[in-house]
């Protein structure tokens, strides 16, 4: 069966596309799926460091497209998960080094060998975005619960729909429980209602993401991080499981939680 191409994108920069790509790739590989993550942010290579694979790069995406190496030679296998691979971005070129048609062709070739092809998109609405969605079967739009990020997400959703690259699902990243409870953060329900898209993940703000990025080990690998669990839930939903959204905090009383344990 041919694999599935998922593009991870956003309007605003810095909202968590690369973090999501690395963790979703990790979580899908943990489920035994063959996964390749493509860093389509040419000129601003980052996915390699987030995945901890920066020392293994020999060839990159542009080398493949321009025929300086074969596709297989450019793919880097993950240190821990043998099913997980990275196709790194070129660092010394720009977005115009690859065309949307070339990206679509690349995804088409990779989907024959992999269950999932994840494409980490650059921010913005220019050629980098058009390259990243060119081969997509499915688009994940990342936003944070802030006006500017949601506004830009709306624009991106419009462009993806116009390009007929759907379905589009939303991930709301960096949700801060305490601020939501105080009423000082846009509520996730408001965001999905305003954007009129389906939600597939709510990722809490989590220091563990910064710590794990420092180490080059995606949080989805560890058991104890809430963000890691949230990313594994997204992977499970993509694989067709029905998993309810994590409560931001256990709102039941201490007594009923205690009773649960006794039962």
């Amino acid at each position: 069966m041919a694999g599935y191409v998922i593009t991870i994108t956003s309007g605003k920069g810095g909202v968590g596309k690369t973090t999501t790509t690395a963790n979703l790739g990790t979580a899908l590989a943990l489920q035994g799926k063959r996964v390749v993550c493509i860093d389509a942010d040419i000129g601003l290579r980052n996915l390699d460091v987030v995945m901890g694979l920066e020392n293994r790069i020999v060839y990159d995406l542009v080398d493949v497209v321009e025929g300086r190496c074969r596709l297989r030679q450019a793919l880097i296998r993950d240190k821990r998960l043998p099913e997980l691979h990275l196709l790194p971005a070129a660092q010394t070129r720009d977005k115009t080094a690859v065309s949307p048609a070339e990206m679509a062709e690349l995804c088409h070739v990779l989907r024959k060998d992999f269950d999932f092809v994840l494409v980490d998109s650059p921010a913005g609405i220019e050629q980098g975005f058009r390259n990243a969605v060119a081969g997509a079967d499915y688009v994940l739009v990342i936003t944070t619960p802030e006006i500017s990020a949601v506004r830009d997400a709306d624009r991106i959703i419009g462009l993806v729909e116009a390009a007929e690259k759907g379905p589009v699902h939303l991930i709301i990243n960096r949700v801060r429980t305490n601020m939501v409870q105080r009423g000082d953060m846009l509520d996730t329900n408001d965001v999905i209602e305003i954007l009129a898209v389906d939600l597939i993940g709510i990722i809490p703000e989590d220091e563990e993401i910064i710590i794990s990025t420092n180490r080059g080990v995606p949080v989805a690998l560890g058991e104890h991080s809430r963000a890691g669990q949230a990313f594994r839930n997204v992977a499970a939903r993509i694989l067709g499981e029905e998993i309810s959204f994590m409560p931001l905090r256990d709102s039941r009383s201490f007594l009923s939680r205690l009773l649960d344990r006794v039962r």
Binding site: E146, I147, D154, M179, D184, M185, D187
Partner: protein, 93 residues
Amino acid sequence: MVNWNRVFRRQRRSGDVARERLQLVLVHDRAGVSPELIQTLRHEIIDVISKYLDIDQAGMEINLTQGRDRSKLVANIPIRSSRRAGHTPEGRA
């Protein structure tokens, strides 16, 4: 820390403010209509309608709103009653 402004409801929750501002900005983004254009439209509508009717400019509202799948321009233009002309509105004695 107790936020007294909030206790006395002098300040609205910033999340609610954000939601309203976001809704408004998206209505304009989606329709591709700037707030300035609405202002221009407002002035021209006043000019045209005033030729025929005595309208209450202060009470006039012109807004873009978001419908289910399209944006709508909604205008509410109160007309001054012509009591000075000496007749009462219908249905009232």
